[in-house]
């Protein structure tokens, strides 16, 4: 099966992987709604997409404003004239300094990366269940496999997102809804700019290509991007805690 997407919402489209996914979707003939906080970035991307002759709707929205989400979602679906794909790519990362403990910064990652994802994917899942079709794609991370000392809130948020998407898949795949969990390793974007160690980093257009290929397969899966990270994940997951806690990752 190869799905063709014609109307997509991309949450977290103003930069990085989300922006590239929007570009590639538009290039293959998909109308897109671009969601994020930064208006200028979204406008620039929309202009670029419009050149390809596709519709690009710009929607500024902060994903932590969860009471707005259902209304924004509904409006975008209406403007697109339906929906067959929603991508949740919004994410933030906070790497605490040694000896600094900042609860607000930690919680913010759960709000954006996990709670925001629940707020956006819930109305989409309801709609897709009724339609007996549709794709929900969430950008989780290899970081969700274990709780890491260098990014505790981030890893917790991605673990929550991974589990949420798995549950969603188990809830709706019997209704023909495709739920895809994407776990990238390192991708060259603003997010990784400040990180020091970035093994096996890939360019953002490669990442987007692999991600869309997984979405199009329509087989409701969880994928590593690139797939080699699967092996790393296996090793990490099975590593005993007394060793894992000694790793500076």
């Amino acid at each position: 099966m190869s799905l063709r997407f014609t109307r997509a919402i991309i949450v977290g489209a103003s930069s990085g992987i989300g922006a590239e996914l929007a570009r590639q979707l538009a290039a293959e003939g998909c109308d897109v709604a671009l969601v994020g906080r930064r208006r200028a970035e979204l406008d620039a991307l929309a202009a670029e997409i419009a050149k390809h002759g596709r519709k690009a709707i710009v929607q500024t929205h902060d994903v932590t404003q969860v009471d707005e989400t259902p209304l924004v979602f509904e409006r975008l679906v209406e403007q697109l004239g339906g929906l067959d794909l929603i991508i949740y790519a919004a994410g933030v990362i906070h790497v605490p300094e040694e000896g600094v403990w900042d609860a607000r910064a930690e919680m913010q990652q759960l709000q954006v990366n996990a709670v925001g994802a629940i707020a956006w994917t819930t109305p989409a899942a309801a709609m897709f269940e009724a339609k007996r079709a549709g794709t929900i794609l969430g950008l989780s991370s290899i970081a969700g496999e274990r709780g890491r000392r260098n990014m505790p809130g981030y890893t917790a948020s991605k673990a929550a997102l991974t589990t949420w998407l798995e549950a969603l898949r188990n809830r709706v795949s019997r209704y023909g809804v495709n739920v895809v969990t994407v776990k990238p390793g390192f991708v060259d974007t603003d997010m990784t700019k400040h990180l020091t160690k970035k093994p096996m980093m890939i360019p953002v257009n490669t990442a987007a290509r692999l991600i869309l290929a997984a979405a199009r397969r329509g087989d409701s899966a969880s994928v590593f991007v690139p797939f080699q990270w699967w092996l790393v994940a296996m090793v990490l997951r099975h590593m005993p805690s007394f060793i894992f806690r000694r790793l500076d990752i």
Partner: protein, 473 residues
């Protein structure tokens, strides 16, 4: 009291018609008392949302769907407010089900006068549709046994309605499709029964004419009469089937019957032929196609039911009334495209001819109903009731996955046939009738109903997918 903003915070619910062929999402609220209900209505008005009601979703089509708008769930209000074992009068909140009624009444010798073929409908759904049972020719519809009810209007105020208190509105709310307001409470008279079982006589009828004749002959001495038709049979056997005549038993006729009023004597068996009931539909699925159903209908027609030397058998009230509930999830056997029910209501004068034409038409078009149910009706006092001095035939059609148009063409022709025969349609079963056809069938009654609607609900707060399809505003 005010409710939280609905668009931002209400849960979403995927709602389907029982036929599984229509489905959409709505915002959903489940008030647990009238104060909460009033607050939800006010909030909906402020947000410009329109409102429909949902009982247990046992309507086959779009009657309890309200796509992208608000659906109020009766299941928050499920208390039996009072029950008097001396008089059989029960006062119930709107989410109380038919099952709750018999569970409350039967141990004391009271059975609901009117029950549908399933025990899950709520008081709200039964009132709004003015449902009928297998005894409609004798007991009339549900509304005939309603003593009074409460209706919450769009502004949150409550009116108590009865045959003496605003009788015109009472007669419009029953069978009013939930379009005049929220029914919140219903007081009903139940029927005294002395035995927990019925005497049932199965009668094979070799043709449609025989089925009609059998009813005409037996109606005077029956409490229940229902016909089953093998819709695949053609030629001289067209309309062949089985009639079930059932009668209440007095304490004198059935001295042991009293002990069978106990609830444990009434339950449905947990398995059928060793297959757990909850799994049954999976075994039905491979047979749910034309070939399989032709076979099953033939077997059912020829297989004599176990009966005694007088040709009767005894059946509990529950298993006689709710045969379809024996197989939970049976509708899933129809697969992903689902099915529709189409029930033709035909006046006595034209019914024999029109029903024969309907069966022939279906066979000609290659859309044959897997189940045909035949009943006798009578007219009633409710403004928009489907009841008439005539007959009905309920047909269950699988929606052909590849070519749904084939079915819609056939149902269009059935609709033309019903109109030409002077019949009516029943919104609880309908998913396909057009606004024009509905208006033609209901004529001046519809205009009177809409006049009341416009006066009580000028903002058209109460709507549903059905009301928009049939232009009921």
């Amino acid at each position: 009291m005010s409710a939280a903003p609905l668009r931002a915070t209400a849960a979403r619910r995927v709602l389907d018609g029982f036929g599984n062929s229509l489905r959409s999402t709505s915002l959903s609220a489940r008030p647990t008392n009238v104060e909460e209900l009033a607050a939800v209505l006010q909030q909906a008005r402020e947000e410009g949302l329109n409102v429909s009601f949902r009982g247990n979703g046992r309507s086959y089509g779009d009657a309890s769907l309200n796509t992208n708008q608000l659906s109020i769930d009766n299941r928050g209000m499920t208390r039996v407010l009072s029950f008097d074992p001396a008089t059989g009068i029960i006062d119930a909140e709107v989410g109380v089900t038919i099952e709750d009624l018999w569970r409350t009444g039967l141990p004391h010798g009271w059975w609901p006068y009117v029950v549908p073929g399933t025990m899950f409908p709520t008081m709200g759904g039964c009132t709004a549709m003015n449902i009928h049972g297998k005894n409609c020719f004798k007991a009339g519809p549900f509304g005939d046994h309603v003593l009074d009810l409460d209706l919450m209007l769009a502004d949150g105020s409550i009116k108590t309605l009865s045959r003496t208190q605003e009788p015109d509105l009472f007669r419009a709310v029953i069978a009013g499709l939930g379009l005049l307001g929220a029914v919140t409470r219903v007081r009903l008279q139940m029927k005294k029964v002395e035995s927990g079982r019925l005497k049932v006589r199965p009668i094979q009828t070799h043709s449609l004419e025989e089925m009609f004749d059998c009813f005409v002959e037996r109606m005077p001495q029956s409490d229940y009469l229902v016909g089953w038709i093998d819709c695949f049979a053609g030629g001289a056997s067209l309309g062949r089937g089985l009639v079930h005549q059932a009668n209440y038993l007095s304490a004198k006729e059935d001295p042991e019957g009293r002990s069978l009023l106990a609830l444990d004597a009434q339950g449905l068996p947990p398995s059928i032929m060793g297959i757990p009931r909850s799994m049954m539909w999976r075994f039905m699925k491979p047979l749910t196609n034309d070939a399989g159903m032709r076979f099953i209908n033939t077997v059912k027609y020829h297989l004599p039911e176990p009966h005694d030397h007088e040709g009767v058998f005894y059946d509990g009230h529950v298993s006689f009334a709710f045969l379809l509930d024996f197989v939970p999830g049976w509708r899933n056997a129809y697969g992903d495209s689902g099915f529709i029910q189409y029930q033709l209501f035909l006046p006595d004068a034209t019914a024999r001819r029109a029903m024969r034409e309907a069966l022939e038409l279906c066979q000609r078009r290659g859309v044959v109903s897997y189940l045909g149910v035949f009943k006798r009706h009578r007219p009633d006092e409710f403004l928009l009731s489907h009841g008439l001095d005539g007959w009905s035939l309920a047909l269950d059609f699988a929606v052909p996955a590849g070519d749904p148009q084939k079915l819609w063409r056939a149902t269009n022709d059935l609709t033309a046939l019903v109109l030409e025969a002077g019949g009516t349609f029943y919104p609880a079963k309908d998913a396909v009738v057009s606004a024009e056809a509905f208006a033609r069938a209901y004529g001046e009654r519809l205009s009177r109903f809409l006049a009341i609607k416009r006066q009580l609900d000028p903002q058209t707060l109460f709507q549903s997918d059905l009301s928009r399809r049939l232009l009921l505003y």
